[in-house]
Symmetry: D2
Subunit: 255 residues, 4 copies
């Protein structure tokens, strides 16, 4: 069993299964509130929402920034759910004071200066595996945080880069069992970024739950077609609800 | 739901879940009989056992050949289980007359001459995905069999090659949902070759079952430490039994 | 310096640089004769031409087969150039009696039964690296031929599969120096299949020559736009001629 | 021909070939001075030397930091060579005032916040390709710098991650011709990090020169065995000198 962290009134790891859900990006107050209420009702324990986005092209939508953080915190207040959001620069740290879990994206997994700064905080850090990084390198990056004094690290498998183009990345679900042989940090899985296609996400989320992961992080949008970012991979609230129910049944079946 | 094939008294696809199990290689009459009886008792529906092995090095054990086929057929007779075995040359076809399912290994997925010959038979063919092949190429190889008149093809995901070295290959479980969008052929998963480590196989087998695969193929050996081939990835009969029970519970949970 | 093989009146390896050129596929007598005469004039020492083609899809042009071999041999007679052609089935061996160098394609690098049969001949075998195979596996496949008694093996790097999609494969030119640390077999490079785009081939061919390879194999077509196979990667005779002249200058510069 | 930048008294791009050389890391005044004088004598036009190192493990030597920058500037003063050094945090920018070329390492290729800050300077930026990034993503990262107003970007191919383990990364030399079809920014090649083995570097450096690259960046150490970082891939001054002479001959041969 992995180690456990308390985050507000919920626990990550230690045998609890974390259902993290929310939109890729916070777009507006009504959007984040609507999604938050919906995923909470389906059983989600944490709300995710991006404010600062690292995008491949400088001409793509980069997130609402500070405004996005404020809207996410409104949703936290309205629903009581702890929130997860990604940081992209050490200089933004002060904005994340009330964010419960700080995410480090795959492209920053080896941004060692950022990791060292986060290691000096007492925040829970959700560290995503780089798309080309071995499990050993993944743990070494966690070590950059831990060696500065912060042990609150959650590892997140989100797909690695291979030659296959039908999916955006190849989700490496064997990483769950492998990481559990190497560390006692909790391991969660993000099937949404790996798939890049909403139609594949439920199958992959169920597989992740069966694999023994400590949680899944799933993108949900109330209007995927008009999402400003990654709409193609977002589940509708209804499909998320069906998926969440199946995940819970699987967890019972193997417990 | 995928299409269904009758194999002896069992069905593959069409909503049935196939539990295929057995040793990497047939080593002796007592070995194959003991494993066969054991996996049958745990609920396996097909018995696998290699007679002709394609090994990276010419100096590795290459299987018992024709003698291996005979021993596998003895186990079929003794247990009533249909059997699966790999073919490595079109010139061996006559030896496979009583074998129920002919396997084409990953290294031969694009041995098109072999595929064409198998397309002229009415055997069920279990086609493994090449370790570097895209899903589209996988389906094109199936098409080499189908276009010759044989529609009885089962697709088997068994891991693709990536930079990660903790596992032997990276099992691509998103291939299950992806292939089901592209074809109605049954899709099974081989976690054993992908992992290369027995300790990871149960987690990956449960994940495969949850993903919606039509079956799993798992290596089981009565004495893994002394196995002549791939012992490191073989489950003991007891671990296989526990895994099989959990697989069945997962299948119930999501049905 | 690598070991050397005599092929007709030319030598491969042992310090000689082999310029192998010709069309992907033999299409007609006039086509193969025209290309053969042209590449000979530009300094090519061996003529390549496919008769049996392993294609991803069963619905793609599969080559002229036996007729293609006959036309290639006519070009050999007319020009005096030794010829290279690919074999795809052990059962075709008798057709290759007058072919000087038998090529094993990347997809058959681990078709061990084919390799063993070729190991029982005294033909020079040009073995292509599988698109997903390590250098160690490449040498093990060569060993399948050598261990049967045939030492006449030329290794051919032709690109490995990676995530990059601008090129068809990623040419691994470091394989040249690496293989020369591991073996004394001659190493040639095929930039055409790796690139998949004619515009990139001259740069990659010059790089191969500078890397210390024992030769390059380049696709040349008299009418690339209307080629039946892989026209996009074929050089025109004129571009091949310019490339050949530069290759020779590079060889002089580093000798 | 690529665009050209003036750097001190030398030119990068525009038909000039840049020979960039120096140690992985600045270790001491005597070390950097000795290497600088040696590579200058062999024809190097720029001196490289790391002060801030991004290392996989937090327990590996991380460079001399600000002290390393000072020692590198001493070598610049002593030899008149412009210098290249890597930046790992936007907060270090003021230390790089007298550094001629600021390098962004492969792990930071998608550290977009860092790129934006560098885009607001007028420094020449040497941007390394991420080990898992496509050429299109590479250009998009360059665009993060350019779109902020700084057009002085040099692209550096340094190897991508593949399944091959004999080399540390797989140098993608086809990227040179490919990038030249996509952009007019200068393209240089770093064979040292790609190979990870000094024995392979000369072959790969010659290949890069022949491919049409605008330069190579090679690690040279006066005492590789005792280097604090990456000694296994560093050339001795003598081997560098021989390699440099061959590179110049190749450049003449193809000009």
């Amino acid at each position: 069993m992995s180690k456990a962290f308390k985050i507000g009134n919920i626990q990550i790891g230690g045998g609890q299964f974390a259902l993290i859900a929310g939109p890729c990006t916070v777009e507006s107050e009504s959007q984040i509130l609507e999604v938050a209420r919906s995923v909470k009702q389906s059983g989600a324990s944490l709300l995710r929402g991006g404010a600062f986005k690292g995008r491949t092209s400088p001409y793509d939508f980069q997130g609402l920034g500070e405004e996005g953080i404020k809207l996410l915190l409104k949703a936290k207040e309205a629903t009581g759910m702890p929130v997860v959001s990604e940081i992209v620069s050490e200089n933004h740290l002060s904005l994340f004071e009330d964010i419960d879990v700080i995410q480090v994206g795959a492209r920053n997994m080896q941004n060692f200066e950022l990791l060292k700064v986060l290691g000096k905080t007492d925040k829970v850090i959700l560290l995503k595996r780089g798309m080309t990084n071995t499990l050993r390198e993944f743990l070494m990056s966690a070590e950059y945080i831990i060696s500065e004094g912060n042990n609150n690290v959650i590892l997140c498998e989100r797909g690695i880069r291979t030659f296959e183009t039908y999916t955006r990345y190849t989700l490496d679900l064997s990483a769950v069992a492998a990481l559990k042989e190497m560390t006692d940090l909790p391991v969660v899985v993000d099937p949404s970024h790996a798939a890049g296609k909403a139609s594949l996400v439920p199958s992959m989320a169920l597989a992740a739950a069966a694999s023994g992961a400590d949680g899944v992080m799933i993108e949900v949008h109330n209007d995927p077609v008009n999402a400003l970012c990654d709409g193609a991979q977002a589940l509708t609230p209804q499909v998320f609800d069906e998926t969440a129910q199946k995940i819970m049944k699987i967890r019972e079946a193997i417990s």
